[in-house]
């Protein structure tokens, strides 16, 4: 509280305590649900062992370059996404910052719900409560899934863990960057790693594990000729690294001015991918066991990604396994921890944005922003219509919102404002790993082409084919409506005046050669 007041009065910006704290927090943000439930299935469906090639190419040509772009913006302009982008490029860019904040806000609403499910299943693991039919249990007994629409019929089994997740999250956010976010990551990230390593080791000794690993790692070279496989690789890297919706701008803004950016960035990016490979091994060894138990091929298994993998397939496997409860506890505990450290970063984007714009203390922002988000989250996602709404909102927020944000950032920052050389010079002035002109080319050309293609093809397919067989009106409200709300929020929040007088009194550091030349010319 005191820190919040002091900051509003002009004291130093909050900071990580050092490089390790920042790296752990950034890895905690990047390693999330997608590493565990998305990567293994995506790799398997898109070429198996051969997927490594497009995956690496995507990491090096889009993932790491965009990560560096976010770091450079947040670190040079030292603010939340709206403030950093405003300092970089005026009001239009501030609007892009609010667009990112609004996406983060929406994502936090349902991400919390999934963590709440994982927490419930962590508890259910002790007595294998899902019984003989995990699919019926998940949709029926646990979620009480109803017809598409909006109901206020709350499901207590979801409501209670959801409220619990919100309370813990807001407590951590309210405790600040060093004592809240960093401390939570320093505790939870190593805990996640240990729990997941034990799980993978256990999975490797299950009978049939080798069948799963064969399925995952045997290369299908023909897949490399399919453009969709490459798009899948770019999309996996892109969604996995927590880039382009404000998180890494916000996190980098809490580093000291004299701080290495690209060196830690490489560590974060490779750590994230390393965890994905580990998850691939663990998940497919487990799936191999399941296929062997049923006497079928891994190819014939269903539910290999996402909610289906985690809350239907895995419970079914846990039930068949000797020592199943222990395995379930490790899996759902890992899912909860991985999701929680990512959720913190998503909400910090929103908290930082409103703190700076409205001159709020950290506690005021946490209670105001967090309280609103918690109420909306409970209303939308702890009811009988929660699962469907979650699926649709997630699809639009990510595939249209986050990808659109990345394309806009690249075009506006690199092409319209021509800030590539300044940001490159900034990275190089403070970092141990130097980036060349090729970095600007990757961020300015490769990223908008690949991500722009992803965005347009997704919009076309959603317009023409709809989504999940759901009624058009429903998709209009929960899908396109979500995007409309995000855009409206971005416009309104940009138009609201700043509650601080020092908005334009800001010096970038380090000064660039071009700055001193300009000053010379002005004399």
């Amino acid at each position: 509280m005191a820190a919040g007041k002091a900051r509003a009065a002009g004291a130093p910006r909050e900071q990580w305590t050092g490089q390790v704290g920042f790296i752990l927090s950034a890895i905690g943000s990047a390693v999330g649900l997608g590493n565990i439930w998305r990567f293994p299935g995506v790799a398997y469906e898109n070429g198996g062992g051969a997927f490594l090639i497009p995956y690496l190419v995507a990491l090096l040509t889009a993932g790491i370059p965009i990560l560096f772009l976010d770091y450079a913006i947040g670190h040079r302009f030292r603010g939340s996404a709206p403030l950093s982008l405003r300092r970089l490029g005026g009001r239009t860019l501030e609007g892009l910052g609010w667009f990112q904040v609004a996406i983060a806000f929406v994502i936090s609403l349902y991400y919390t719900a999934v963590i709440a499910w994982a927490l419930s299943y962590f508890v259910f693991s002790f007595d294998l409560r899902w019984g003989a039919d995990p699919a019926a249990f998940f949709q029926g007994d646990y979620l009480n899934v109803g017809e598409p629409g909006f109901s206020l019929e709350f499901v207590p089994g979801v409501l209670i863990p959801l409220v619990l997740v919100w309370i813990v999250t807001l407590f951590v956010l309210g405790s600040g960057v060093a004592k809240g976010l960093q401390r939570a990551n320093v505790i939870f990230l190593p805990l996640l790693l240990v729990a997941f390593l034990v799980l993978v080791l256990r999975a490797l000794f299950l009978p049939g594990a080798e069948l799963g690993l064969n399925a995952l790692f045997t290369p299908n070279w023909a897949a490399l000729a399919d453009p969709n496989v490459w798009i899948a690789a770019y999309s996996q890297i892109f969604f996995s690294l927590s880039i382009a919706f404000g998180i890494m701008i916000t996190y980098a803004s809490y580093r000291a001015r004299r701080a290495n950016l690209t060196g830690p960035g490489l560590v974060v990016a490779f750590a994230n991918s390393s965890f994905e490979i580990l998850a691939g091994i663990g998940v497919f060894a487990t799936l191999g066991f399941f296929a062997a138990q049923q006497g079928i091929l891994v190819d014939d298994l269903e539910g290999l990604t996402g909610v289906g993998l985690s809350f239907i397939t895995f419970p079914a496997i846990v039930s068949e396994m000797p020592g199943g409860p222990f395995f379930g506890i490790l899996f759902f505990g890992s899912l909860t921890l991985a999701g929680f450290t990512s959720l913190l970063s998503v909400l910090q984007v929103v908290s930082a944005g409103v703190q700076e714009k409205f001159g709020l203390t950290r506690l005021q922002a946490t209670i105001g922003m967090g309280g609103t988000a918690a109420v909306l989250s409970v209303l939308l996602f702890s009811t009988t219509t929660g699962l469907l709404a979650l699926d649709v909102v997630d699809n639009w927020a990510n595939n249209i919102g986050v990808v659109g944000s990345a394309v806009l950032t690249s075009i506006l920052v690199i092409w319209v404002l021509r800030k590539g050389p300044e940001l490159q010079a900034h990275l190089n002035a403070v970092s141990t790993f130097q980036v060349g002109k090729v970095w600007i080319a990757l961020v300015g050309v490769v990223a908008p082409i690949v991500l722009g293609y992803m965005l347009i093809s997704r919009i076309v397919s959603l317009v023409l084919e709809g989504y999940g067989g759901l009624p058009g009106g429903y998709l209009g409200v929960f899908g396109w409506g979500t995007i409309a709300l995000i855009v409206i929020a971005a416009v309104v929040l940009t138009l609201v005046p700043w509650r601080r007088s020092d908005l334009d009194r800001f010096d970038t550091w380090p000064p660039l050669a071009s700055d001193s030349q300009r000053k010379e010319a002005g004399r």
Partner: protein, 47 residues
Amino acid sequence: MTPLAIVFLVISIVVIWGGFALSTIALARRPERTDYPAGGEGEAEGL
């Protein structure tokens, strides 16, 4: 496991975990620059 799958398992681990190990070692050896431009020590200007 089949030899082909083992080869790709090993390559994946060497490349990705190797990337993580190399970037971590490089950072441990040189965590920060020693030649920062002048200034940038006080934080008050960087709210």
